[in-house]
Amino acid sequence: MADFGEVIETRYVLSREQLEASKFGFSPVYHSGSPTVYSPGDVVNLPYVSGEVSSMTALGNAWAAYASGIGPT
């Protein structure tokens, strides 16, 4: 029993049948080779090792160089 003020999970819990019926667009697809995967990006280059620069810092450096007239290389 939840106490007053607690956050309650309010979603419906779907049955297996309901979940399967709702999977429109997920019918079997036949393909050869491995499906394409790509990194989720959230954790790229983490933790930073020596010599690595974060994307934020690198992008900042690129913009700063650009603003002072230095082109991309």
């Binding site: 990194s39 990006g41 930073y48 010599g51 974060s54 810092t57 992008l59 913009w63």
Partner: protein, 494 residues
């Protein structure tokens, strides 16, 4: 009550009282000619239509992933020495092609820059203090976030938040980005809407809002409440957000989308060929009534400066985007694609008005930012159906826009069923015919990233100056998950 009709005075006497059941709705507007009435126009402009259509496209196109191109963009190092391959700072994204019969080259390309790619947990002031969210002040329209650290005119926020510009006003490249307070501790993975706080066994939740302005000298970010959203602790998205950012956390940027279609780019174009009918070349023209004061874009050879608008080029042939402004539209090439006018929340409460075409900032003729369509609507920038399809594919069920089409002659259910049927038919056609034809006409990413339709779109997607979009900075991922370098003539695994 009624006038005497047929008298020598004609019928300009008092009019009959109108019978309610005989009144016909107004179906056209003064001087609009054959243009549909305002209800049809509103329906066409409805975000709901794009949202619904995007779901159909995601179902029919998305599951095959025939034209999906994940890429890594290596941030260029103009001054420093770049780290070794594999340790370079990256921006990750994916470009998805949507075969379209109505598009000259047969494919619209929609891009997604993956979220949380720029993290604030390594932004520091001059003494090394991390720029976490120190405090939040709010008024009716904005949150003002003070970042931790000591900031002054001598030590302003670092680039890319605030870039001093020797030749003018400082650049603020991140304006228009969505920021999310998803990093709890430095170096950790950003929380998602599902992440539980182990200490309390409740979800962290987070808030997303659009960055409107940066006060670099005081370390203050101004974020807009309108269009914000909140991943609430009970795992639902609320928009606008019911709360402010959590002090102590760090910002990341949100997922960013861009598309080359006319709807997103707000520009139409001439068709030099006609894919769906017979293959006759056409001479581009623009009706005089559509000629507007505006800009047009030219793709030029990076070395010689000559115009090079080809759709297929060598992977080592870099090109620049040249803007021509203060002139009329280039007849037949680009015309204004119409407008979307939002009402401003602020106190003056006036509508935003039509597109001004001074909708970008440029430096040395390189676009540094676009702003025309960046007005966020609910939690999003103005998305086209392709971007909605990308979001459905990612499993991010985008919130259903509330502007349902109205005034349809049939029921909305019949209208939807028709939409499903139409999508199925057109996708069958464009999958098998348009795709083959398109691939013969134009190149695929990254080799088309500098084509006239793609370069402005890539600028919007990556949010870097157009001159930084260089083919040698892209690595593409093949079906085995390995990355290859097209500018070094490497190929995907067979």
């Amino acid at each position: 009550m009624g006038s005497k009709s047929g008298s020598s005075f004609g019928s300009f006497g008092a009019q009959d009282a109108p019978l309610i059941n005989k009144i016909k709705p107004v179906t056209t507007e003064f001087s609009r000619g054959s243009v549909p009435n305002s209800i049809a126009r509103m329906d066409r402009e409805s975000a709901w239509t794009r949202w619904r259509r995007g779901y159909e496209i995601a179902c029919y196109v998305g599951i095959q992933h025939g034209l999906t191109y994940p890429f890594e963009y290596k941030v260029p190092f103009p001054v420093d020495i770049a780290p070794a391959e594999g340790n370079q700072p990256l921006i990750l994204g994916v470009v998805q092609g949507f075969p379209t019969a109505g598009k000259e080259f047969g494919v619209h390309w929609a891009g997604c820059r993956i979220g949380a790619i720029l993290r604030f947990d390594n932004v520091t002031d001059s003494s090394g203090t991390l720029a976490s969210i120190a405090s939040v002040v709010e008024d009716d329209e904005y949150w003002y976030v003070q970042l931790a650290g000591s900031w002054s005119s001598a030590n302003p926020l670092p680039p890319p938040l605030y870039v001093p510009n020797p030749s003018g006003a400082p650049l603020k490249p991140l304006l228009g980005e969505t920021l999310e307070d998803r990093i709890i501790t430095p170096g950790s993975s950003p929380v998602t809407k599902d992440t539980l706080n182990p200490a309390t066994d409740k979800r962290y939740g987070y808030v997303q809002a659009v960055l409107i302005d940066v006060d670099g000298e005081n370390g203050i970010l101004k974020l807009q409440k309108s269009g914000s959203f909140q991943a609430s602790p009970d795992n639902v998205y609320l928009t606008p957000s019911a709360g402010a950012f959590t002090p102590g956390r760090y910002f990341t940027v949100g997922t960013r989308y861009a598309c080359s279609c006319q709807d997103f780019s707000r520009r139409s174009y001439a068709f030099m060929m006609n894919l769906s009918e017979k293959e006759t070349r056409r001479f581009p023209y623009t009706r005089p009534s559509l000629l507007k004061y505006g800009r047009h874009e030219l793709i030029t050879d990076a070395n010689s400066g000559t115009i090079d608008n080809r759709a297929m080029t060598d992977a080592n042939q870099n090109r620049d985007l040249t803007l021509t402004t203060s002139s009329i539209d280039n007849p037949g090439v680009f015309t204004d694609f119409g407008g979307r006018y939002l009402r401003n929340i602020p106190a003056d409460g006036k509508a935003e008005g039509p597109t001004t075409f001074v909708d970008y900032t440029a430096k040395d003729n390189q676009i540094t930012s676009f702003s025309d369509y960046w007005t966020p609507l609910l939690d999003e920038m103005r998305y086209c159906k392709h971007i909605y399809a990308l979001r459905f594919e990612e499993g991010i069920l985008p919130p259903e826009p509330s502007d349902l089409p109205v005034g349809t002659t049939e029921s909305l259910t019949a209208w939807e069923q028709n939409l499903v049927r139409e999508t199925a038919t057109s996708k069958k056609h464009s999958q098998y015919i348009t795709t083959l034809r398109a691939l013969a006409l134009m190149d695929v990413p990254p080799k088309n990233f500098q084509s006239p339709q793609m370069l402005p779109m890539m600028q919007k997607l990556l949010n870097v100056p157009t001159s930084f979009i260089r083919l040698e900075n892209f690595r593409m991922q093949d079906k085995t998950g390995a990355f290859y370098n097209p500018s070094a003539y490497e190929l995907p695994a067979t």
